[in-house]
């Protein structure tokens, strides 16, 4: 076995009383694409930040090519051959791409070369960063990291925000890096990618490395088991069982009816119905109008035409307030957009209540507290970080965004990709929560970018293509059928 390119030994880090890393041994060999896996809050991001000089470690050592190094700044980490692409783009929004490159001391010619290698040389580097769509910012970040010609490329959830064709280009890079006998540390929640493209994986749990193995051998179940520990296996089948229990009663009035809703200026509109107690899945490729549809339904944007009926009455929302008053609420995929990150959990849950509890006059604190506590218990939110919502892990934040509406008693939920960037264990908790809400009588419209979620959570699925519903299928529809429809093609046998 060759000497490791990167070796961490007993790396530990604590933020005040919260221990993020308890002692991680990680070894990345040259010519290896190494996956770093773990549930949300397991310590992946902290480890990446230590390896790239953003955070200092409390104890333990990091060695590159056998030599211990002291990574005290991002610049120092880069000069040791470790170049990161962070989860959030590290480009300054108010500067042009060129100015950003100068800031980091990167040769623009090298970046252009890397972009050309990814078939992206059409990108204009004179453009201000804020005008460039997110997926291309990730690609620019990647090209910038590559321009340093690093020994080890660290990719922190780079594919989470990328459409499949751009993801493929990322994997072309990782393969090329491997062929050059260099290495990649790859973080992703998409286990299929990990199985397909990674040679090794290390799983973190509660700040420790718990397993290292070839991800292709054990398959997803081994990864999930390592990530979640013993409690994992039982979780997975619960949602599926519950799925079977639901049966549609015939004479129910639909909770939400959408008729010929024009998402953009086009001829065909969107029409669908959702009953109380039903979860309607919504599947689509990137950019088929799903964002706008959800914004219209939640009163954020006005439709060009068509109508929305809630409980049989038309809803003409000019503002989210109007929709919320009628009980129609949106859970966006960007969790921090929906929450008050600096405020305590209690207030975050209580905020939607204010719409109902009291229009004028003081708020009844006692009643507020009761409802909030009920919600926290039902959601099994870890309340150790109760003082500020932003300190919760991503999964707990998402539970909070969904759960606060629950506490307020809203009955029509619009969930937009609620499990994006969330680990497998919490995903299943969220599936359970969604089903529970539906069983309790809520009508739910769920857009998801992960097709297999549809079979797990939904009662029906509508496929959106180019701003119109092109097909409705049972949740048991195969992924092939869903994808065919999502591309706007006829599905032969449903």
């Amino acid at each position: 076995m060759p000497a490791p390119l990167l070796q961490t030994t007993a790396v530990a880090k604590a933020f005040g009383p919260v221990v993020a890393l308890r002692g991680v041994d990680l070894s990345v060999a040259p010519g290896e694409v190494h996956a770093l896996l773990g549930a949300n809050g397991a310590g992946k991001s902290t480890l990446v930040k230590i390896l790239t000089g953003v955070l200092g470690n409390d104890s333990g050592t990091v060695a590159v090519n056998g030599r211990p190094v002291d990574l005290d700044s991002p610049t120092e980490a880069r000069s040791q051959g470790l170049a990161p692409v962070y989860q959030d783009p590290a480009l300054i929004p108010d500067l042009t791409v060129e100015q950003n490159l100068r800031l980091t001391g990167v040769d623009p010619a090298a970046v252009r070369r890397e972009l050309a290698g990814m078939d992206l040389d059409g990108l204009d580097l004179g453009e201000q960063v804020r005008d460039i769509p997110l997926p291309f910012l990730r690609m620019l970040d990647l090209a910038r990291a590559l321009a340093f010609d690093p020994q080890l490329l660290l990719l922190d959830e780079i594919t989470a925000a990328l459409p499949p064709d751009l993801s493929e280009r990322v994997f072309a890079i990782t393969t090329r890096w491997k062929q050059r006998n260099r290495s990649v540390l790859f973080i992703s929640h998409r286990l299929a990618e990990v199985r397909e493209h990674c040679d090794m994986c290390t799983v973190l749990r509660d700040g420790r490395d718990v397993a290292s193995f070839h991800p292709g051998e054990g398959g997803e179940s081994q990864i999930v088991a390592a990530m979640l520990g013993e409690a994992s296996a039982a979780v997975r089948d619960v949602a599926r069982e519950r799925r079977a229990a639901r049966e549609r009663t015939e004479d129910e009035r639909p909770r939400l009816v959408v008729r010929d809703l024009l998402i953009d200026r086009q001829d065909a509109g969107v029409s669908f119905e959702v009953q109380a107690g039903e979860v309607l899945g919504m599947a689509a490729l990137e950019g088929q109008g799903q964002d706008r549809l959800f914004e219209i339904l939640s009163g954020n944007v006005r439709a060009a035409g068509g109508e929305i009926l809630v409980d049989g009455q038309p809803l003409k929302a000019r503002h989210p307030y109007d929709a919320i008053r009628r009980g129609v609420v949106l859970v966006p995929s960007n969790r921090l957009m929906a929450l008050l990150p600096q405020r305590p959990i209690r207030e975050n849950i209580a905020i939607p209540l204010f719409n109902r509890i009291s229009r004028w006059g003081p708020i009844n604190i006692g009643r507020e507290r009761r409802q909030v506590e009920e919600a926290v218990t039902r959601l099994s939110i870890d309340t150790r970080a109760a003082a500020q919502a932003r300190r919760l892990s991503g999964g707990n934040q998402q539970k909070l965004t969904i759960g606060r509406w629950l506490a307020a008693g809203f009955r029509t939920l619009l969930l937009f990709d609620p499990t994006r960037g969330i680990d497998v264990g919490t995903k299943h908790q969220i599936y359970d929560l969604v089903r529970e809400l539906a069983d309790g009588g809520a009508a739910i419209v769920l857009f998801t970018s992960e097709l297999r979620e549809i079979a797990l959570v939904c009662d029906r699925v509508a496929v959106l293509h180019n701003g119109a519903i092109v097909a409705e299928m049972p949740p048991t529809a195969s992924e092939t059928d869903l994808l065919t429809a999502a591309h706007g093609l006829e599905v032969t046998a449903v």
Partner: protein, 336 residues
């Protein structure tokens, strides 16, 4: 599990923005303020029968202090901070300069001027350092600093007084009908201090720190140092403002209210000049032009025969209206 779905359609590249669009986004505001200034100057020109070098000199020399303070404030706002002590810093510099320059020959006076600017840079740098190191919000530190500086100014000069060399006055603000010296000073500072700074890596880092501190850190920018340097450069401009005040008035005036008013007007010039208070965008030319607009308005109102007290009301309304129009023109927002 089936295999991961492959996309059929390639994600299209974003369409690059047009040249005109880019110009509008980046320079539009400055052009707008320049046009506004042109209109105001023309208006003033039509008000006064004999509009000539004397009038122009009066406007330029009289606005120079405010223009310099606007530059000081802009640099700090661009770096993501705010400085409520620029006015007090100007008053202190004015008092030190007036006290030391009294009855001195030109050489000494110039040396004093350089020294005073250096002191302002050091003091402002210290204020920046305290902000960065202590983590106390800049608005609090600089507000407190404004009291300290105003107090020091009274220690240096306990009442209006001091003086300077008349040749120094001519050198800085020109004779009674010579607008050129003050114009050249302003243009020179913009061209020889600000532009090279803006184009340097340090300048880009200043914008970066104001735009997104975390991303700047990840890009390898030394965030704390950059912020302190922005305060040092701000101190340079507010020190210059003090020296110019000394040259313009030929004396020192330690009244604290002068500093407070000047600080607030500098913030107004920054906003009117298109520098986002959030930091990270804008340039110094806009606030300088805006400073001229702001100081022309009272003169225009006077020319119309209005009560001067209404001039302040008009000034406030103009700031709000201009910024509103600018916001509508520059950033087509989503309807809400």
């Amino acid at each position: 599990m089936s295999t991961a779905p492959r996309a059929v359609a390639a994600t299209p590249l974003p369409r690059p923005s047009s040249r005109a669009n880019r110009f509008r986004r980046r320079q539009g505001w400055v052009v707008g303020v320049a046009v506004l200034l042109g209109v105001l100057v023309f208006w003033r020109y039509s008000q006064i029968p004999a509009f000539g070098p004397f009038e122009i000199r009066g406007i330029v020399a009289g606005t120079m202090t405010l223009a310099l303070l606007a530059m000081a404030q802009s640099v700090i706002v661009i770096s993501g901070g705010i400085d409520l002590s620029v006015g007090a810093m100007m008053v202190l510099a004015n008092c030190i300069a007036a006290r030391l320059m009294l009855d001195q020959d030109l050489g000494t006076v110039v040396l004093v001027a350089i020294g005073v600017v250096a002191v302002a840079m050091i003091l402002s740098g210290l204020i920046g350092l305290v902000t960065v190191v202590s983590g106390v919000p800049d608005i609090v530190v600089t507000l407190a600093a404004s009291f300290i500086l105003a107090g020091l100014a009274l220690v240096v000069l306990d009442g209006p007084g001091g003086g300077t060399n008349p040749r120094f006055q001519e050198l800085i603000v020109g004779g009674f009908d010579q607008p050129l010296p003050s114009l050249l000073w302003l243009a020179g500072l913009l061209a020889l201090v600000w532009l090279p700074f803006k184009r340097s890596r340090l300048g880009i880092a200043t914008y970066a720190v104001g735009s997104d501190r975390a991303a700047a850190f990840l890009s390898g920018v030394r965030v704390g140092r950059t912020r302190v340097i922005a305060y040092v450069l701000g101190g340079f401009f507010s020190g210059m403002a003090g020296v110019v005040t000394t040259a313009f008035t030929g004396s020192g005036e330690p009244r604290a209210s002068i500093g407070a008013t000047a600080t607030l007007t500098s913030v107004a010039a920054v906003v009117l000049g298109g520098v986002a208070l959030m930091g990270g965008s804008g340039t110094l030319l806009g606030p300088v032009l805006a400073a001229f607009c702001l100081s022309l308005i009272p003169a225009l109102m006077l020319g119309l025969g209005w009560d001067p007290n209404y001039a302040e009301v008009a000034r406030g309304i103009i700031i709000i209206v201009v910024v509103m129009i600018g916001g509508l023109v520059q950033v087509p927002r989503r309807s809400r």
